[in-house]
């Protein structure tokens, strides 16, 4: 039985941050991530009639995105034979040092930590989807993008007291939403 409805006009506002965080950890390039998300939305529009409503819109879009990411790696792997590696030292004093030695080594994070952080990030975004639109926007600007209180107040035409009430409500809702698995 079809329970979930599909509405492409709301995809960007509702799911773009989720899709973006899902993609960026897999391709590690903002521009490629943007292209893949764009392709996902267009493929979603084309195959809308196949959406049975059994899964949520987000799950359905992620299943399309997964295929797009796999296609992306297939594409770049097929070009591997033509690849040319160029090594350039950033300054002469470092000449002779391997670039590898200059790369930061994340000894503080294991593969499990990275996976757990990704899962946590997606869980936070899913919880943010439940916030009222304005509350979610203000919370994101303040907490994730690090905007000044004054800048947000000017943009939304609210007082600092209003802002802190909104932040308080958003934080309480998020803490409740995450409580089961992450607290």
């Amino acid at each position: 039985m079809s329970t979930n409805k599909i509405d492409p006009t709301k995809w960007v506002d509702k799911y773009s941050d989720y899709l973006f965080n899902y993609t960026i950890v897999r391709v590690n390039d903002r521009e490629i991530a943007n292209d893949l998300i764009s392709e996902t939305f267009l493929a979603g529009l084309k195959s809308m009639k196949n959406f049975k409503g059994e899964a949520s819109e987000r799950t359905w879009l992620i299943s399309i995105l997964k295929r797009k990411i796999i296609d992306h790696y297939r594409r770049i792997n097929s070009k591997k034979g033509q690849a040319e590696v160029r090594i350039k030292y950033s300054d002469d004093s470092n000449e002779g040092d391997w670039l590898e030695e200059q790369a930061p080594d994340r000894l503080d994070m294991t593969a499990e930590d990275i996976m757990e952080n990704e899962e946590l990030g997606l869980a936070i975004i899913r919880c943010m989807e439940n916030l009222p639109e304005k509350q979610a926007k203000i919370f994101k600007m303040k907490t994730i993008e690090g905007f000044d209180t004054e800048a947000i107040c000017n943009e939304f035409n609210i007082t600092p007291s209003n802002l802190w009430v909104i932040i308080h409500r958003a934080r309480t809702t998020l803490a409740q939403c995450l409580e089961k698995n992450w607290f």
Binding site: T9, F20, N34, F41, L42, L45, I124, I144, T149, H168
Partner: protein, 88 residues
């Protein structure tokens, strides 16, 4: 006596200060008053612990957001595709 009184704040003020502290926007006197309140109020202590944990979780996962321009470009593409579909 009034000076002594002013060090005590109610739960809503302590909660507000706790939120501000998550963004390093609480002043020193506000923090002192909050700490005094937390020492005396168990529910606020619980809220403060959760709030601090939430800040840590958000920081740990290094979330990223899409810019308004990126969102606008996607919306535009979807709009065009829908218009094309309606015509075809």
């Amino acid at each position: 006596m009034s000076k002594f009184k002013s060090i005590f704040v109610d739960c809503s003020k302590a909660g507000n200060c706790c939120d501000k502290a998550q963004y390093n926007e609480a002043s020193l006197p506000e923090k002192v008053k909050m700490l005094v309140h937390l020492a005396l109020c168990k529910p606020c202590r619980k809220y403060s612990n959760k709030n601090t944990k939430l800040t840590k979780l958000i920081k740990d996962c290094d979330l990223k957001t899409c810019t308004e321009e990126e969102k606008q470009a996607w919306k535009e593409k979807i709009k065009q595709e829908i218009a094309l579909k309606d015509r075809g």
